[in-house]
Symmetry: D4
């Protein structure tokens, strides 16, 4: 059994690396969005031409990124969504809702301070974790039945 | 043609009333979440018993609210999601993602200040409006072909 | 909003009556299996001819009952499954799994003594209740936003 | 043709080994839940933190196990569900219902004493067997057309 | 609960009338193909223009009839397929396969002499009856829980 | 049986009126896009604000019209698509492809001069007609079994 | 592009061999039912125990064969169904209907004498052929664009 | 991540070669229709026998080509549809509609002169490009996060 895992959400800390490195002995294939913030913001106009209006500048980029995001989520068995300290992160919550409607197994990763604000998102998840290491331990258990410690 | 419209998101201003009143001559049926903030937060423990841990207190409520929310979205032709001035509003973005994955026609309603933060959500929508009156005008046009003015 | 509710499971106590009577002022339409135990067991052979082998006797009945059960579950918004004191009740757990796979909102109703044995079933539910009155209160809240007391 | 087979249900006898060993010359890939009873019960709290209330202790574990179980069933061509001598085994019946709703080919494995209690589950199956060896013979026939003896 | 029933297959005896008359006190809505043999054969060319080649004459008619047949089957809760004494009746078996793949509850109606030839079709059904009266009794039981006699 | 029919395509002749009037004695409910060419082109900017770039002007309108079009097609049993004498009419062919992928019964309506250019579209249809009166005759036959003349 | 092709229907002539041999240079993977008539009839009772009643004898076999048949059809891109000279062949027509409802590309293979009786089945197909060699030529064309001669 | 891309539409210029060559270092697998115009027009009658009526000549060919086209679109992650200078190209718009209804990521490729006529098609797309090189750049970005220049 290979587990396909999509890592959605926050792009300013090293949580993806901690999961992919922690899980490198496991039969998991990872996917994620483009995590280069500038490239992700400007990809649309860089390829398809400039837009004077920021709204359409953003639209072109967001739709191009959606090609990757949708495939990542639709192909996944498990979607991990991380909410960080800063920004609105509405795209993370949008991905969680998208994955939930497709019946994907959802793991939500966030600090205790967001517990109340994320209650509807957490309620759709099969697990709510605080650290990337817990995600690795869960992937390990799901694939091998092994528990930490 | 009756249009079934679900009104998701922000619960602290009168935007739902402005839409339902503005559209009362149209063949539209509206649904929405429970908009009483306190009831929505505490419904789970009020019916199913208290929880000392706030996380499970929230879980019980969020899952009970999900019975209404999912039916509302799944039955809808059009899902309108409003983002307001305050709070994280991750449940609104979650609903938008959920609706998008089900192929619902999405209308996003927000002020100009949220344009960049909502770019992925807006990119999944068929329309992005700033005022409830624009939503009414769109419902009117979709149902009757009539334009304002 | 009319809520379509299917009442599955235990047929030896009055829990269905307590729910349907308690909810009679609400916009709910209820469905349930045939609850006459003898008719339910023998319906197949009574109509389609006797079977000397009890296995096929049971098969004929169970498949005829499945016409009603599947329609009931597939048409429902909410599936309530009650586990009682006695018997194996594997058909109740089967219905719960069937409803879960179809994405129905599940409410499980059982006494505290079955908590551990039902943990996988409960984990697929949006609510776990102990009394029929709690189910009525949840239907009331989902439809009207009203809380008890 | 590779047949993907999920082996659900009873975890206290060697029926899984008898099937996987019996079928080792066939083009079958097997999956199953975690069958270490203690790990399966405690996996949630072992990774995600202790819960004083047994209900939530069980919930955390059951939801984590669901990541593996759902993938196993959704990926399968054939779901074999074994009911043993002891316990309520509602999770086995739940898996059978879940698999049935997804249109999987179901094989139910149980002793004659459970025939009446399992009639609704059996009625959704394409085969009802009493021994693991019969399951092996069926997989052999389905893949090669070969009959025993 | 209204049951939507589609009556497919043989068009040379009065079995449909016996069912619809027998069930007239029940909450059932019936649909069926056009049962006027000549109209059914020639409808395509009568409306869309003659075809010198019988193959395309038949094609035009069969595709026009398919508009009605597909809607009838797709809208149905229960599909009853009757096999009679004469002709190949491949369209009846085709309808049964079509309904089975859509997960409809299938009832097959035929005389004992076709038992072996129809074994694959019967095996996909929830009931196999010999007389229209048995079909009426099953509809009655499914809707009301009432058994004959 | 009520037949829901969506009338897509060409908006410069009276073909829709000829069908709806011809079918007024039948149990058919019709839907169609907004057929006021100017309103359809400008609806987006009229409600949501002007766009200096014609591409985004068109985008806003086309997406608003899509709310109506998608609902019309998704709700329909039968989608009739008319190709006229003039213009590219790519939206008509797009609607035909959209309806085909959803498994709708397609009727294509066009003059003989477009036969070769429309061969892929026609090949996905259950009927190809040249006049609105033929469409009326087909709806009449599908609903009542009656043939013209 | 690998094309997955299921070969359903008549089992008394060498048409499957003529197709698989003719297509051996092509990127096609073939599947088919068990074509040993005796094994196919008796597989159920040979493995799961004798039945005195021929109806249940047939049922056991037909349901066991369905495990293979359904997987074959569900995995296929193209389903070829051959109707021969003899027998009722209702299982072939059932497979065609099943495949049609799943949206598979259907090719029907039969002699001219069955043209009228198969008109509804042919009308659901993308091609109707008379010889296995035509099927090979079509697979060749679909995969490579090459035409015969 | 391998991206499966279907290249639909115009067959008279070298746009497919420019994309497949430009993307040859990327993890993309391409599919496309048969692009030999004469073979595509005559394949049906070349294999299945001549038709005196051009309508059925075209039908036979179009349905045979549909076996390839549907598989190509259904297997794809991304469907690129190119509209050229000449012809009606209704099959291209049909493919775009078909792909949109299946939820595929759509990229539309056309010159500025078709902007208004393609507005409904463009509005269903995640990107609208003018050159094959832009398509290559987008595939590169989606797979690697790399931007041109």
């Amino acid at each position: 059994m290979t587990l396909k895992v999509y890592l959605s959400g926050e792009i300013h800390t090293d949580w993806r690396e901690r999961i992919t490195e922690g899980a490198q002995a496991l039969d998991v294939s990872f996917n994620s969005p483009v995590t280069d913030h500038a490239a992700s913001d400007d990809c649309g106009v860089a390829i398809l031409g400039a837009e004077p209006n920021k709204f359409w500048h953003d639209r072109k980029g967001a739709q191009l990124n959606a090609i990757r995001t949708r495939k990542g989520i639709e192909d996944a068995d498990v979607v991990v969504v991380r909410f960080g300290e800063k920004y609105k992160q509405w795209n993370a919550a949008f991905d969680a809702g998208y994955a939930a409607a497709l019946g994907k197994s959802l793991i939500i990763l966030h600090g205790a301070e967001h517990q109340h604000a994320l209650k509807e998102v957490d309620a759709a998840a099969l697990a709510v974790a605080e650290t990337p290491e817990q995600v690795v331990q869960m992937l390990d258990y799901v694939l091998t039945g092994r528990l930490p410690g």
